[in-house]
Symmetry: none
Subunit: 188 residues, 4 copies
DNA sequence: AATGAATGAGGATTCATTCAT
DNA sequence: GATGAATGAATCCTCATTCAT
């Protein structure tokens, strides 16, 4: 029982690591299993097929992200602090793990053909949007949703560039850009 | 001679179409060749291997985009018109062709492991940035580059969402969001 | 465990047979696998690639040959008997199996580009030479090695002709020729 | 017309060279043609198919060998000189060209399935045998043919070893071994 | 719960060969 | 006489997946 959860987590971690090494989903289940230290048959036993394994990994990544956000929001008292926390949460160092980056990029690809992936992505988008809008409302009223939209898109765009160009902007600078945009929105 | 160019273009178009149908690079060269109406051996004859074929397709997409941008800039007289043209050029209907979208998403994936892809992506990023900064300079002076950075990232982020969620914002609305951000930057 | 050894041996036997049917290494792994009654994937699973499979087959042939030689030497008491046994061991009927002949001919070809094959061939040459020289020493002293050299080369040459020309000399006649040369060497 | 002969010879030389570089017949006609500086289609035009091209190359090698033998015999006056010339002709430096060696090894392979190759090989064997026997007759009478058989086989066997082990015996030493055997036969 | 053994299906790539020009 | 263009047919090898144990 506990063993099952443990094995699954091992496999999920191995998946993220393996994807990170190749940069793509072209990783054999055999390789993932080897990293996890189990047989590939076990991966099928627990997840059914390869795509399910990848989705589980993505779900895991999103959950960790959610926890980060919750933790950050928990210690934020004012709307301004909330916004700051929300934005910074997207550029934490854990987001720049090779495996996590690769998972995200492939997630975008998968979202085009897999309903499950698309659904998951929508949820992430909606949650980010709603979090931002919620924090913005006291400050901007009706404009909240619209501003949240622009901010969240910019977050993804900046993440994309930072992730694909490690020599470029640092996570801190990346967050700073979004915060700058926020400042301008509030000033407007 | 002319035949070679023609065949190559056929294959490139077929590649984009095929990628669009699957949403991923998991398309057999055989399928691409069939769409192009030639043998798969010919694809190898002309491009060497599958990755080269895909890169050629991506290069083709970027070239068309460049042409669009140039054409749009050619009829813009003021800095404001320039910015408007640059932003709108990213949301033209051709960008929302299934094949083009799929190519972009997979391009992000490929950029993680293929030097050639990464190089190509950098060039695109740099050019967009430089175009925006150039148009901004007369209006914002020193701030131009920094603003351009935020705008270009937002362009990608908004494109990502629009592309992956056809039911969401329309291309026009997408462009409008970026223009809104521009307005706020200029007002600041 | 035992299954692995068994399957490998099946595949090796099938390889020898298949090579014998074509006379060359231009046999598909698929055909070999079919003869062995397993899937071609299994052949790759166990041997890695086609060349390794062929080398395993050649190693197998050489091992059987070694065993034949050992068995023959075991019942030989005098140097003369030893020499007779050694020479005859090279012309046993098992050497004239189509597959074995084909394997040898292709072995010579492979030896030109495969280090593993060349190494294997050297070992065979060295062992034959040393066996002959050892048996000759009591009879010829210092001349042993030099005589062994001439005898072993002649063995290969005569085998070559007998193998490629089944209508020519019989194995017995072939052995007789070498024994004749031995007689002359000893008489000298 | 003269052009045809020239082109054919170019292709034959290229074949021998190409085979020498790989050590096997696994050379593409394209590569051979490139070495020859012509199109691969031309090779087919002149030779019909790949095997015919290889056979032509082998025929060419055998002809040169024949010429060497004739030339050597032409200046030999006594039977002893004849034998010496015949034996040495088999170990001339031209026999140790990589391409020539590779051609021989592959010739043995081809002889197993190609009638044309087998026929060619028989002719070579028969001619060597007859040449040796002819030279031996004045010295050994009835024994000539039998001795010639042993010598010719030894020639092939020693060539095989020298060819496959360039670090081993030199051509001179190789010839010396056969001459030593000849001496013992004559002494017997 | 866990795996070793086995495979079907497929896919990239190669190459001898053809043929119109 | 000579070739560029084109392809059909293979073949090696991989891998997700299954299943008996």
């Amino acid at each position: 029982m506990g063993a099952e959860i443990q094995r699954k987590q091992q496999l999920i971690n191995a998946t993220i690591q393996a994807i990170g090494e190749t940069g793509s989903l072209d990783v054999t289940v055999g390789k993932i299993a080897k990293i996890a230290g189990v047989s590939s048959a076990l991966a099928f036993h627990y997840f059914g097929d390869k795509e399910a394994l990848f989705l589980a990994a993505m779900r895991d990544i999103l959950q960790r992200y959610s926890r980060d956000v919750s933790a950050a929001l928990a210690v934020a008292d004012t709307p301004e602090q909330r916004l700051d926390a929300l934005i910074r949460a997207n550029f934490g160092t854990s987001h720049f793990d090779r495996g996590v980056i690769a998972a995200w990029m492939n997630f975008y690809v998968l979202a085009q053909r897999s309903d499950a992936a698309r659904r998951l992505l929508r949820i992430y988008h909606a949650r980010l949007l709603s979090n931002l809008a919620h924090a913005l409302r006291p400050l901007t009223g009706d404009q909240a949703r619209s501003i949240a939209l622009r901010l969240s898109a910019q977050i993804d765009g900046i993440y994309l560039r930072a992730a694909l160009n490690p020599a470029g902007a640092s996570p801190e600078e990346a967050a700073a850009q979004v915060l700058a945009t926020l400042k301008r929105e509030l000033a407007f």
